[in-house]
Amino acid sequence: MMAGIAVSTNINGDNAEFLCHADETLLDVLRDRLGLMGAKEGCGTGDCGACSIILDDCLVCSCLVLGAEAEGRRIETVEGMAQGDQLHPLQQKFLEHAALQCGICTPGFLIAAKDLLAKNPDPTEEEIRFGLAGNLCRCTGYDKIVRAVQDAADVMRGA
């Protein structure tokens, strides 16, 4: 009765297959079965955004997705942002602006910011603040995060 569900999916451009239980979240699958520890569990209830991933171009909390739902979908995690040793502009700007202190929320913020800039390449400060409101940060007061996203947006637009 506990037979695993076989799931085929695509993670950061690579095909992946795994077995999971019906009630297992995608976050648990990523971390415990696939060894992708970038997404963090801060709450497990969709309230902190630390486990954010992009699922078929849609930003979601992986703690609110079942592993079984990943069948046939495309998943992007923080591990897929850098190309080889070339950091994504958001990653680079987070470092330059010191937009992280403890860093536990950083993977979620990077993914949420990536999704935000994909949909709105030139956001205002207010749009950034509301766009990232699903991600909690307790260290920075958000100031340097917002600045890093603004700066990265400029770089990505070639401004």
Binding site: D23, E41, A50, L95, A98, C102, G103, R129, G141
Partner: protein, 750 residues
């Protein structure tokens, strides 16, 4: 100690720059390993069963069914944790808090634990544990618990610090008192007096990473603990003592830490994980859920504070008096004591008295939260000061400047101050453009001051120079917010090499001598002091080696900008030797080159800040919006200014959250109603404006570079700054934190 820690004026080349942190790339690529990101082969999953009752005798625990469930490898109760504390009351409280012994003392108190092959089995096993409770009357409110007829939480608690000694137990574990002069006589002379009672609710540090550890105990008595903590040496000490292990056989490795703010200075589940592993004979991973973090780690005190301040017509504060009641959970604490010490620390006062009462309540054991106890006291005092300034007819900044403490002032908590920054932060605020910006309708501006002691303490650092001339720095204070970058800068500065040539790591407890925790804003202060001392020890060796290489007396060798330089008439023409050249030759000149340092980093300089807040209040709903916020704080010397700003901004944001919406809400049943991030409302990105910062540098004379701690002070002024802003916006004095919309609306309608 061959090390002079006193400040000398110098110019810096590395210190004060803003390079990228050494652990940065790992943290933006998801590679950094936090508490829950570590696994051991064969590991089990640990889970804890918690009391749903606020106060209950544990009559019986039947674990038979749980133990029989296939996949369960260990079941644990207090019976498995014999009392080895040997009369140490503080340790006994920690033991009892880790696993309730006779009574469950709060909603969330651990009563049993299991280790099983996977999470679902562990969860199922918890349901099979049968606990028989006998419910007792409970009390969760600090004022109700303080009342003489309150339900008694611990019948061994007799108030200390009162004369005569009480003959019956109560919920007040200690009375403490500070001050000097004659407050009553001073108050009698006052032309204006403000007297108010303030209340603040309990808050949580709200770190995003839940407590997590992996424990592995071998049958030969050795053990490993991987854990997110602010102090792995302290965790080792506590776990070893509670479990009867040899300190040196328990190796504790601190993972990357996802925030602590004081909440990861105390052991909660770690001794349980070790005990489970010992019983099961396998590694055990134990990760708290968010619900457990709120219910069963260590939030702040809730407080109730009476303040009375009197001033003369000319604006001199002539007397100041405060009585502070702080909740400390169900165990004795010393939180009001700290509040009583900090309350009036910003001011030069002839007559001052503060009295603190530690109050037991059926809530989780209070833990430190960033400048613990100071924000609540500052809220009460700075609110009253603002009101008093109005009565006297003075501008609130000028009123504070007139009464600010200075070098030579006797602090309200006792000793005299050295060079301090309260005056300069106030002068900077007075001149700040923020203070002159116009305000609109329903908007108000508030400002407030804050103080924190800062700590030093035991510190140990190793600095090892590789054969290629690069430096590895092993530090024992956990890096929560970028201290590895700062300490690398300090090592580079002292050795005279480039920042990129240094790599700082946090060493485990087997690799370095004892270090106190990263608390009390001591991380960069004390470890930089130890790093400088270690670097100077290394330089001494480098000079000896250069002398050997040149075959000249070591007295003729100096160290300048990363090079050995030969001095004197006879060797003046020798070309200087770089650190890299000396390192390359080290194999033939006496072996590896290293500098070590073991110090007690005394002399942490006190820290002051002044904050300005603009807020808009919707008078119809009580909704608030922070429009602008400015932090001015003394850093002594900012080693990495970007991370100093980050500390200022983070503390301010936490304080704003506390001021406006964060609070523990208990039901009549004594249960916590909002144990999650949805209803425990820490500020989100769209709740805040940019937070402007201004770093002042008034050197700490007791540190070679003038460094003071910077981490904590920034959370002290915001409660009062925001409250003063709201009070100015609505014209009603706000007395209860958080100023949630229902409270603001109720105050307006009162």
């Amino acid at each position: 100690m061959n090390f002079d820690p006193s400040h000398s004026k110098r110019s810096f080349s590395s210190v004060g720059t803003r390079p990228i942190r050494p652990d940065g790339v790992d943290k933006v690529t998801g590679r950094a390993r936090y508490g829950a990101d570590f696994n051991m082969p064969g590991q089990l999953v640990g889970r804890i069963l918690r009391s749903p009752h606020a106060h209950a005798i544990i009559r019986k625990i039947d674990t038979t069914k749980a133990a029989q469930l296939p996949g369960v490898k260990a079941v644990l109760t207090a019976a498995d944790l014999p009392d080895l504390t040997n009369g140490d009351a503080a340790m006994y409280d920690i033991l009892d808090n880790c696993m309730a012994r006779k009574k469950a003392l709060y909603d969330g108190h651990a009563v049993a634990a299991v280790a099983a092959i996977d999470a679902r089995t562990a969860k199922q096993a918890l349901k099979l544990i049968e606990v028989e409770y006998e419910l007792l009357p409970h009390v969760t409110d600090v004022d109700q618990a303080f009342a003489p007829d309150a339900p008694l939480i611990n019948d061994t608690i007799f108030t200390t610090g009162v004369d005569p000694k009480p003959d019956r137990p109560s919920n007040v574990s200690m009375r403490s008192q500070f001050g000097h002069g004659d407050v009553d006589a001073g108050m009698a002379r006052a032309d204006f007096v403000v007297e108010r009672t303030f209340k603040t609710e309990q808050t949580h540090q709200g770190y995003i990473e839940p407590h997590a550890c992996v424990a592995s105990v071998s049958s030969d008595g050795t053990a490993d603990l991987w854990v997110c903590t602010q102090g792995h040496f302290v965790y080792r000490q506590h776990c070893a003592q509670l479990l009867g292990m040899d300190v040196s056989k328990l190796r504790v490795t601190s993972s990357e830490i996802g925030g602590g703010f004081g909440g990861k200075t105390h052991v909660w589940a770690e001794p349980v994980a070790l005990a489970l592993s010992r019983k099961a004979g396998r590694p055990v991973k134990l990760v708290m859920t968010r619900d457990e973090v709120f219910r069963a780690s260590g939030p702040t005190s809730a407080t109730s504070i009476d303040v009375k301040i009197g001033a003369l017509k000319d604006g001199t504060i002539i007397a100041a008096d405060a009585t502070l009641r702080y909740s400390c959970g169900p165990y004795a604490g010393a939180w009001a004591e700290v509040g009583a010490m900090t309350a009036f620390a910003c001011y030069k006062l002839e007559n001052v008295r503060t009295v603190g009462y530690e109050v037991l309540v059926n809530r989780p054991k209070t833990a430190a939260y960033r400048a613990p106890s100071a924000p609540m006291a500052a809220f009460a005092v700075e609110s009253a000061i603002d009101e008093l300034a109005k009565k006297v007819g003075m501008d609130p900044v000028d009123f504070r400047i007139r009464n600010a403490a200075q070098e030579g002032t006797n602090a309200s908590y006792g000793p005299i101050y050295g060079p301090i920054g309260i005056g300069p932060t106030l002068e900077a605020v007075k001149d700040h453009p923020h203070m002159k910006a116009p305000l609109g309708k329903n908007q108000g501006r508030g400002m407030a001051c804050g103080f924190w002691f800062n700590f030093g303490g035991q510190t140990c650092t190793d600095l090892n120079i590789g054969m290629d001339g690069t430096v590895s720095l092993a530090v024992g204070t956990v890096d929560v917010g970028g201290s590895r970058a700062s300490l690398s800068l300090v090592a580079a500065e002292e050795l005279g090499i480039d920042y990129s040539q240094v790599r700082a790591v946090i060493a485990d407890t087997s690799s370095l001598g004892y270090n106190d925790m990263t608390d009390g804003s001591r991380g960069t202060f004390s470890s930089s002091m130890a790093t400088i001392s270690a670097a100077r020890n290394a330089i001494k060796i480098l000079r000896e080696r250069a002398a050997q290489m040149w075959d000249i007396p070591v007295e003729d060798v100096t160290w300048e900008n990363g090079h050995a330089v030969a001095k004197g008439e006879t060797h003046g023409n020798l070309p200087k030797l770089s650190l890299k050249e000396i390192a390359a030759a080290s194999g033939t000149t006496g072996g590896p080159i290293a500098g070590h340092s073991e110090i007690v980093a005394d002399g942490a300089g006190v820290s002051f800040a002044t904050h300005i807040c603009d807020i808009e209040v919707d008078p119809e709903t009580g909704a608030t919006k922070v429009l602008r916020y400015t932090v001015v704080q003394d850093a002594g010397k900012a080693v990495h200014p970007t991370y100093v700003e980050g500390q200022y901004q983070g503390g301010a944001a936490q304080g704003i959250g506390w001021a406006l919406n964060e609070e523990y809400i208990y039901g009549k049943d004594g249960r916590l109603q909002n144990a999650g991030f949805l209803d425990y409302r820490i500020p989100v990105c769209s709740d805040l404006p940019m937070i402007d910062t201004q770093i002042l540098e008034i050197p700490n004379p007791n540190h070679p570079y003038g460094v003071r701690g910077v981490g904590e002070t920034s959370i002290v002024p915001p409660l009062a700054a925001v409250a003063n802003a709201v009070s100015n916006a609505v014209g009603v004095r706000m007395l209860h934190i958080p100023m949630s919309p229902p409270r603001i609306l109720a105050a307006l309608d009162a």
